[in-house]
């Protein structure tokens, strides 16, 4: 990804030549990708971009900086994402206002706010393909004349109109002092230039009046440029209505979640060893998979290396690790070339692939906002609203993007609760893959017990936080996007991008962790630390004192930590306690850093204190109950 940076500053002061502004989910990120060639994360739900992306486009031998901003409904900063966009707008030269051709009237209020900024501006009438399909005809010339701004129909998905859009926006003069008075077709209604000047003032009764006038103008404009051809109720309409009805919607929600879990498991196991089956005996197996590659190809090579190095040498210890019964065990040996490669690639990567495949599919179809609708009342008990499920689900992949995605929530309080819950009770995919793969050998019920414990903890902690975290906790207010057929190439790019990011970020840290473990063992430092933590670990949690090693390494990588349980000969009960504690006890360093960045140091410390209490209590409870 060249020329690409994603920024997450709260008030960016960055300058840009072209800024993409528009409602959430209108296709800004796809358009940005088309213009710059940079792959971005675009999803079919409002709020997929919460930070901003910067890229470049060349035109007439000049280079222009272009920024993809978070979606916003108006320039009144009601949430953090909008605040980012408003800051970006101040420092941009030209605006591309992206609107949805299928719902013109909903987008024009923002367009008018933007026009009143008096910047060089062009409108991208995006989703023109859907508009054609839905029988919405827009007279582009007339619209452009009415607004006094060029309008270019585009289809970001295919690239239609994108070249013309860029040419038009760059051909516009930079200042636009005067603009069409077309916005005000009725001379007896005064124009309200103060409208945006006072936009930072919350709407008072006076503002309503102006807004109503704006709406009247908008309906009048839309009526004059748009014709709606009558169309019949389609299957998609039916599905769309059904999935938000109380009974059928609930059935659909349960089925989609079950299907998602099944698909993740199926794909994950298939990639690992070519077996097809959800639990128990596989339905069938084919000779395929990442595990055979390790066992049949890599192992013989590494055994040769082992002989060459001599099993007592330092190099052997670091590269190969310990031989278990004279053989390499990819989980237990703990050398850089054995466990250091197997954990990220052999055990975790297959589940990373399958998880990201499924979540990307859910993102692109547009099902997630509907799920949010159904979970709204449950999330209410936790001081949240249904949309908090989106960061939570993203957190299952990796806590870091999950915590960043809490920006789609409106207030600090909600972001604090959601982030704290993610860091405590949502294990990342890497950790889950290891739990399923390693603890799963002890029995399916053990895995089920771990998940149930985490889920109950998530809910109970949320319930308590609702009453302890004071402040405004707004309710769900969400535009539900239409279902869309995922575009195959976009899906492929997205999944691939996320997998590459995992490989790039995880493997070096895994190798480093394995190295550190070996060094620390050699200098025997763990003994002292173990003594210090012994009361907590042995008395309260009922774990052997050596398990301090995986707990501490968990701060670097959780998946490596589970691997360190292997040589300890834990009982099933200890495995369960260990996995739960590992999920909760100190988020990995990467998560901790975003937690501090996103919440601020004080709240991050509060969140950490809550985590320490929760992990102590839950670990002890499991030890008591089982």
């Amino acid at each position: 990804m060249k020329n690409c940076k994603e920024y997450c500053a709260a008030h960016p002061k960055i300058e840009s030549d072209i800024l993409l502004v528009g409602h959430p989910n209108v296709g800004k990120s796809v358009l940005f990708s088309r213009i710059t060639g940079i792959k971005t994360i675009a999803s079919n739900y409002p709020g997929s971009t919460v930070c901003y992306m910067e890229g470049n486009t060349g035109y007439n031998n000049e280079n222009y900086k272009i920024i993809d901003a978070p979606g916003t409904y108006s320039l009144e900063p009601v949430d953090d994402a909008t605040r980012v966009t408003v800051s970006l707008l101040k420092n941009s030269q030209r605006i591309i206002n992206v609107v949805d051709a299928t719902h013109l009237e909903r987008h024009l209020p923002l367009t008018i706010e933007l026009i009143e900024q008096k910047k060089s501006m062009v409108i991208a009438l995006n989703m023109s393909d859907e508009a054609r399909h839905l029988g919405v005809d827009i007279d582009v010339k007339k619209l452009s004349a009415r607004l006094g701004v060029p309008v270019i129909p585009t289809v970001a998905r295919t690239g239609e109109g994108v070249k013309e859009l860029v040419e038009t926006v760059l051909a516009q003069p930079l200042t636009r002092e005067s603009f069409s008075t077309a916005l005000n077709p009725h001379p007896h209604i005064p124009r309200h230039n103060e409208y945006t000047d006072k936009s930072s003032i919350p709407a008072g009764p006076h503002m309503h009046l102006k807004r109503d006038i704006v709406w009247k103008n908008i309906y009048e404009i839309v009526e004059s440029v748009q014709t709606l051809r009558h169309r019949h109720h389609t299957f998609r309409d039916m599905l769309e209505d059904l999935s938000v009805q109380p009974f059928w919607g609930f059935i659909v929600a349960v089925l989609s979640l079950l299907a998602s879990f099944a698909l993740i498991r199926l794909t994950g196991e298939f990639l690992i060893n070519g077996s097809v089956g959800i639990f128990g005996e596989p339905w069938f197996e084919i000779p395929f998979g990442i595990e055979p590659v390790f066992e049949k190809i890599l192992k013989p090579l590494l055994m040769k290396l082992s002989v060459m190095l001599g099993s007592g040498s330092l190099a052997h210890k670091i590269l190969i690790g310990n031989l278990i019964n004279g053989d390499i065990d990819f989980v237990q040996s703990f050398g850089i070339l054995t466990s250091g490669l197997f954990i990220p690639i052999g055990a975790v990567l297959p589940y990373i692939i399958s998880y990201y495949f499924v979540i990307s599919l859910l993102e692109d179809t547009g099902y997630l906002p509907r799920l949010a609708v159904f979970l709204d009342s449950i999330m209410h008990r936790m001081g949240l609203h249904g949309y908090a499920i989106i960061p939570t689900l993203l957190g299952i992949g990796c806590n870091v993007p999950g915590i960043l995605a809490t920006r789609i929530l409106e207030t600090k309080q909600q972001r604090f609760i959601t982030s704290t819950l993610i860091s405590i009770a949502v294990p990342c995919a890497a950790l889950q893959a290891m739990i399923i793969g390693f603890v799963g050998r002890a029995g399916l019920w053990a895995v089920a017990f771990i998940y149930a414990t985490l889920f109950i903890t998530w809910f109970v902690v949320g319930f308590i936080l609702k009453y302890t975290v004071k402040g405004y906790k707004p309710e769900l207010l969400l535009e539900i996007p239409p279902y869309r057929l995922p575009s195959f190439s976009a899906l492929k790019d997205k999944v691939l991008g996320r997998i590459l990011a995992f490989i790039k970020e995880a493997i070096p840290i895994v190798v480093l962790s394995v190295f550190i473990v070996n060094v620390l063992y050699m200098i025997n430092i763990f003994d002292y630390i173990a003594d210090f933590f012994a009361p907590l670990i042995t008395r309260l949690w009922g774990m052997p004192r050596e398990s301090i090693v995986p707990m501490l390494i968990g701060i670097l990588r959780k998946d490596v930590a589970v691997g360190l349980f292997a040589p300890l000969n834990l009982t099933v009960k200890q495995l369960i306690t260990g996995s739960v504690v590992l999920s909760m006890f100190f988020p990995c360093i990467a998560t901790f850093v975003v937690l501090i960045k996103e919440l601020g140091i004080v709240s991050a410390m509060k969140s950490t204190a809550i985590m320490l209490v929760v992990v102590t209590v839950v670990g002890s409870l499991i030890n008591l109950i089982l």
Partner: protein
Amino acid sequence: MSNTLLTELKKGDIAEIIAFAGGVAMLARLKAMGLSEGKIIKKLSDIRMGGPVILLVDRARIAIGKGMANKIIVEKQGNEEL
């Protein structure tokens, strides 16, 4: 016809938004979403049990949390079966 609350409407009811009984912050969010006085809405669904209400406004589907929906005063204009 008399005024009621959004939550009182039945599925398929068509109504005009009359007023909002909520605070400033709630109002700003609703307006930004295109929900303002005088708008015609159609109630598509009500999840009940504390769940949100789903509306059709300007042909877009919008989910509104129960507590917020309870503060939106509307005037029923008719019913159109879904």
